[in-house]
């Protein structure tokens, strides 16, 4: 056989072997390939057949080599390192004296986790799909059936075998369930705070709707804006409000996110001070909502208009002379006592 043809056969087979050794450390890979190249040349010199025929498929050849050399396939790169770290952590944990008992307990508690996971994911899903129901959907019959179905599915997945993509999916779902659990716990906590805060909220619905970080009226509805008027019914603008302690009075904790009674976000354009900080207690707040235009389907800004107000009766006579400008002031009592003449 021509030496060059022989070299080609070796090089081809060697290239295939290299593909299956990609994960090795480069120095080690070079060493291994060097050694195998010598061996392949010996084989090629003695046998004219293609090396695949003599030695079998490269994948099997490498597998046999790795198995006997003790070179387990540990992928390199960030993923490989992560996997190696996870494995070593697992090994360390297993070596602990308390590990068997903890592991046994964890195995016993698995059904409890599967149940919790099902409930939490079902609740999270339902409240995400129907945010306006404020959780009532869970207490409805279909909602409860959905929760039961989710728990059943979670138990079935937990009890079954899983490998590959399914295993990865289950890990993802578990992470989601954990996040949802902490979110629910946080929600429960703020709910109680809010009930304490306004003393009137009647449980779930009102507490959620008033958004605990927002100023509420006595009925639990959120206060979305403040419109000051003069006693003549004249709307005032650029009014700075402070509470009894001299603190700027803003409607929401962060001063930016305000929700109406239906849970819709009302966006605010604050005027800014010299330092660029929004002035959150300058009223009335310039507000708008983002809505979808029914015709074009585009999202448009809809400025919030001032509400229709009713002045206290005793003031009506004076107010009747006020110019009926924006916002519409229902101050023109028709049969009010004439003030003129």
């Amino acid at each position: 056989m021509e030496p060059s043809v022989q070299t080609d056969r070796v090089a081809d087979y060697l290239a295939d072997l290299r593909l299956h050794l990609e994960d090795l450390d480069p120095a080690e890979r070079a060493e291994v390939l060097d050694e195998l190249a010598d061996a392949l040349r010996e084989v090629a010199a003695e046998d004219d057949r293609p090396l695949r025929e003599v030695l079998g498929p490269p994948a099997e050849y490498v597998a046999a080599y790795r198995a006997s050399a003790g070179l387990e396939s540990v992928p390199s790169g960030p993923r490989g390192r992560l996997r190696a770290r996870v494995e070593s952590t697992k090994a360390t944990l297993r070596a602990q004296p308390w590990w068997p008992r903890v592991h046994e307990l964890a195995v016993l508690l698995r059904p409890a986790w599967w149940t919790l996971r099902g409930v939490v994911l079902a609740v999270a899903l339902l409240t995400t799909i129907w945010p306006r129901s404020q959780g009532d959907v869970i207490l409805s019959l279909p909602g409860m059936l959905f929760v039961v179905a989710a728990v059943t599915a979670s138990m079935a997945v937990g009890g079954g075998r899983r490998d590959g993509a399914l295993r990865l999916a289950v890990i993802g779902v578990n992470v989601m369930a954990l996040v949802a659990t902490s979110a629910l716990i946080d929600f429960e906590r703020t709910k109680h705070l809010d009930i304490r805060a306004d003393g009137m909220a009647s449980g779930f619905r009102d507490a959620r709707r008033t958004a605990p970080d927002q100023l509420t009226a006595f009925d639990g509805d959120p206060v979305t804006n403040i419109h000051p008027y003069t006693r003549d019914g004249e709307p005032l603008e650029d009014v700075l409000l402070f509470d009894g302690e001299g603190r700027p009075l803003s409607l929401a904790r962060d001063g930016r996110k305000v929700y109406d009674a239906r849970g819709r976000r009302i966006r605010i354009e604050h005027e800014r001070d010299a330092d660029g900080q929004p002035i959150a207690n300058l009223y009335p707040l310039q507000q708008y909502t983002m809505e979808r235009d029914r015709g074009t389907g585009q999202r448009i800004r809809r400025p919030q208009t001032a509400p229709t107000i009713v002045l206290p009766p005793a003031m009506r006579t004076d107010a009747s002379e006020a110019p009926a400008s924006e916002p519409a002031v229902e101050a023109t009592a028709p049969a009010a006592a004439p003030s003129e003449g």
């Binding site: 291994v32 050694e35 195998l36 010598d38 061996a39 040349r41 010996e42 084989v43 010199a45 030695l55 079998g56 050849y61 490498v62 046999a64 080599y65 790795r66 198995a67 006997s68 050399a69 003790g70 070179l71």
Partner: protein, 99 residues
């Protein structure tokens, strides 16, 4: 088992990878794969049971030779004992069954 076989071959004389394969085949271990022998050589070398050196060759490329060292000999001895114990135990079992 392959460990002991490779060590035994190298106990007779130092050799390079393909030569070890050839000797094992000549001894009757025809099923043994090239790759398994090379992998075993690498592992034994890394574990300190073998020494290694390169010998220039006139006909072709340089060859990497392996030789057994003290640790390798100890491992071989222990392997031999285990093997003999296994073989005699198996003989008793098999003859006992045959009887």
């Amino acid at each position: 088992v392959l460990d002991v076989a490779v060590l035994a071959v190298l106990e007779r004389r130092d050799s390079y990878g393909y030569d070890v394969v050839r000797q094992l085949r000549e001894a009757g271990l025809v099923q043994v794969g090239d790759a398994s022998v090379y992998g075993t050589l690498r592992r034994l070398f890394k574990s300190g049971a073998l020494k290694s050196y390169v010998v220039p060759s006139d006909e072709g490329p340089h060859r990497k030779y392996y030789g057994i060292n003290a640790a390798g000999r100890a491992q071989l001895e222990s392997g031999r004992k285990t093997w003999h114990a296994f073989v005699s135990a198996m003989s008793v079992v098999l003859e006992g069954e045959a009887a």
